[in-house]
Every structure is written in structure tokens, then in C-alpha cells.
Symmetry: C2
Subunit: 259 residues, 2 copies
């Protein structure tokens, strides 16, 4: 029996929150807080102590209010996380980006990566749906603008964008997991190296992994695994964009040959 039509607590209200278009209500006292203040407090907490430290209680405590008062501004923790995600994404700075699609997309990917490196907790937020917030859409806008002069159709452009963000997120999550692997036990490096060594021993002793064992014997893991995450990231990015370039030249050739 909620008031019909008006955005009750459905996803439409979440949209209003994301876009900062909540009509403030005409009656009653002016609130001392605001959605932005709540989100900022939560982000400060996440920056300082990680996403796991972000609880409704602790956010409220950092704002000197009661836990439940947060629910006047935010429907629940899931929505708060969505708001944090969009706020933390920020807006891409396309000023220095080149005009060619490949250079621009490389900048896009690297800038997204720096966002995730500055705020690793963004990668821990479970994405709850397609991008709806203005900041996430701004990144989409930048990506689509970067491809404006390519021979890709709309579906391909979006797919490529999703593929790129997927790659950035994957690499970021891998970096994160490596850090977590260290933080799990107190003294990270030598203990972890010992575990890795024991694992390699098991691989060598087991006949289920002949190829892996051969690579191990050839020194595959002599350096710590994933020594340079940036190199992995760049290599994957290059591979991806090489694939796009191959598609474009193939298409241009076909266009010249067929029509």
C-alpha cells in the first residue's frame, strides 16, 4: 500500500540517488546529513581500512549519528555500495588522449586501472547490474567517443568496451589477490615462497602435470610469480587491441575486395 507511482524504495529511487536528483521534501526539518555526506564517509572508511571495515555502524559513528539515521538517506548497504562504486569511479580526464582509437582506448584502460589502484576496494563491490550511474556512463561515453571514427558497429563498440573493462578489472583483482595472499599470514614473502615451493614439489612428483612440470623444470617459477603486474596488464591490452586491429584490416580488405 505504499504511495503508488512515486518512487518508493524500488530501483527507480536508486537511480535518483545515483544522479543526485532526490526531491528534498517540503515538510519537516532539514536534515543535517545528505546522501553525498554518507557516501563520502563510507568512501573515507574504505580508503583507510578497506571495504570490509565499511559497516553501517562504523559509517554512522564517523558521522556522529546513530546507525539507523543512515537509512533516512540510503535504502540499505547494497545501495550504499553501488553509490560508492559510481562515486569512486570518478570522471575520465580525456584531455591528453590522442585522436586515434587505439591510443585513446589505451589511455582509457590505463586510467581505469589507476582508479582501481588508488581504491582497490572498488573491485570488491559485487556489481549488481549494468552501469547506471553518471560517472560510469561518463567512462562509457569516453570509450564510445574514442571509437567514433572506426568501422565498428554499435554492438561491437560496446562489446569492446565491456571486454576492456573486464580486462582492467581482472588484472586489478589479480593484483588484489596477490596482496591478500601476503596479508593472510603475518610475514608474507618468505613464508609464501616456501608454500609455493612445496606446491611445485607436489607438481613435480605428480604425473598428472607433465607439461606444467616441464615448465617448472625449465625455471618457470624461479622468479616470484606475476613479478610485474603492469607488464601482464600491458601485454593483455596489446593482445586485445591487436585483435581489434586485425578485425579492422580484415574488414577494410573485404570492403575493398567485395564492395
Amino acid at each position: 500500500m505504499g504511495s503508488p507511482g512515486s518512487g518508493g524504495r524500488g530501483p527507480a529511487h536508486t537511480l535518483d540517488l545515483l544522479w543526485g536528483t532526490v526531491r528534498p521534501g517540503r515538510r519537516g526539518p532539514r536534515g543535517g546529513l545528505s546522501v553525498e555526506a554518507v557516501v563520502r564517509a563510507a568512501m573515507d572508511l574504505a580508503d583507510a581500512e578497506g571495504l570490509a571495515a565499511v559497516s553501517m555502524r562504523r559509517v554512522a559513528e564517523s558521522l556522529d549519528v546513530t546507525t539507523m539515521s543512515l537509512y533516512r538517506y540510503v535504502p540499505g548497504k547494497d545501495d550504499l555500495c553501488d553509490l560508492m562504486l559510481d562515486a569512486a569511479s570518478g570522471t575520465p580526464d580525456t584531455a591528453g588522449w590522442p585522436d586515434d582509437w587505439r591510443g585513446a582506448l589505451e589511455h582509457l584502460a590505463r586510467d581505469m586501472r589507476t582508479v582501481f589502484r588508488r581504491r582497490p576496494w572498488v573491485l570488491e563491490i559485487p556489481i549488481s547490474g549494468p552501469p547506471l550511474g553518471p560517472n560510469n556512463l561518463a567512462w562509457m561515453e569516453a570509450g564510445l567517443a574514442a571509437m567514433r571514427n572506426t568501422a565498428l558497429d554499435t554492438g561491437e563498440r560496446i562489446r569492446l568496451l565491456m571486454l576492456l573493462t573486464g580486462h582492467v578489472r581482472s588484472e586489478g583483482q589479480r593484483d588484489l589477490s596477490m596482496e591478500r595472499a601476503g596479508a593472510r599470514t603475518g610475514v608474507a614473502p618468505q613464508e609464501w615462497g616456501r608454500v609455493y615451493g612445496e606446491m611445485l614439489g607436489r607438481v613435480l612428483a605428480d604425473d598428472r602435470f607433465p607439461t606444467l612440470a616441464r615448465h617448472v623444470r625449465e625455471g618457470m617459477f624461479d622468479s616470484p610469480p606475476e613479478a610485474d603486474p603492469d607488464e601482464d596488464f600491458e601485454a593483455g591490452l596489446a593482445l586485445l587491441l591487436d585483435g581489434v586491429e586485425a578485425l579492422l584490416t580484415r574488414r577494410a580488405g573485404a570492403g575493398r575486395a567485395d564492395g
Copy 2:
């Protein structure tokens, strides 16, 4: 002051759990449970009600024991999740895979995808480090074997494997988020379409998104977004492997020209 040398509760013990090499202890009564039984019960729960339903209490309840007795077999919930991840990954069936690297890698990627589709909760487990379990290593073995006849060096092979699993995971997580977006509200489709429509209206009314607005006006979102996840998956996979192929032909050409 714990017994030195022997794996107390460190990550070395987790390795023993993953590989099923826990020495059972010589004194005392034989336990009615086992690590495998605990992991299987947890997996059954996750299969039936999702990862969120997997709590130590509910796993214990399904085994007709008290909560704390689980800690005799598993150090904690994080490790239990790691065990679930490796167990759910299973072993790749490489019987029908072709000999050429591209076909084999395509099979690898698709088979990984079906694993995630059968057990979507695997994607919700936060990965805590490099793959250490025998099943995950079996997938790695299969991937390395698929590339045995390529001109890629070891580092490139591993990178490509990581890139592939990253792609599979990304697409799986996207599928999952789409399902969750529906489950968040009761009646999914039309309500969600309404939200999407409103978002598009905002995009059109806002001058920050000219390119996006143009694509929208050209009918970009007339069909529901991400209509065919498999198509997205396959396109991304093809792009990736095209990139690899370009690298290989480039390298072969250079080899013919330079040496």
C-alpha cells in the same frame, strides 16, 4: 611456541587440505567426518541456495553436527571457500579437444565457462591467491599442453592463460550480475526495463553524453542490453585469439626476415 616445522595452521596446512594429504593422526577416535564431506556439504548448500547460504552453522546442520566440530577439519570459512573453489572447478576433459592451439584453447575457455554456468557461486568466492589446488592446476596443465607447439615462450603462455581465465570469469560475473539485477526486485523484466528507460532519458537530457546519446537515438538499447551473453563471450574470445594469431604470424615473419 607451536610445534615448530610441522604445518600448524599456516598456509602449508591449507595446501595439505587442498591436496587431501592430511596425515590422520595416530591417537584418539576416528572422526566421523572428513574434509571432503564438509566441502561436499558446503557445495551442496551453495548449489541449492547460493554462496550466501553457506554458513558454518548451516553446513554443520546439514551434516547433523554442531558448528564448532567443522573447525576440526577446516581452519575457517575462508579456507573452506578455497577448498570449495578447487573442488567445484573439477578436471578438464581434454578428450575431444583438437590438436591446434586455437581450437584447444577455445575448448578450454568454453569448458571453463560451463563450469561457471553450472555453479555460478564459484565466481562469488574471492580469489585469495595464485592457483594452488590440484584441480586448478589441472586446468593450467591443459592450457599449457594446448600451447605446446606454439612459438610462445613460457611467460607468454601463462599470461595468455591468465587472460583467458580472466575473460571467462568476467563474462560469467557479468551474466551473474544481470541475473542478480532481476532478483533484486520481485518482478524482474518490465520493472527493470522501466528503470533502464528512465536512465536513457536522463542520458538524452544531459549534455555530458553526446556520443552515448547519439547511439541511444540510433536504437542502441532498443533490445534489452546484453541480449545474448554467449555471443559476447565468443566475440571476445575470438578477438583475443586473433590477437595471439597476429602476434604469431608477426613473429614468424620476423623470424623469416631477420634470422
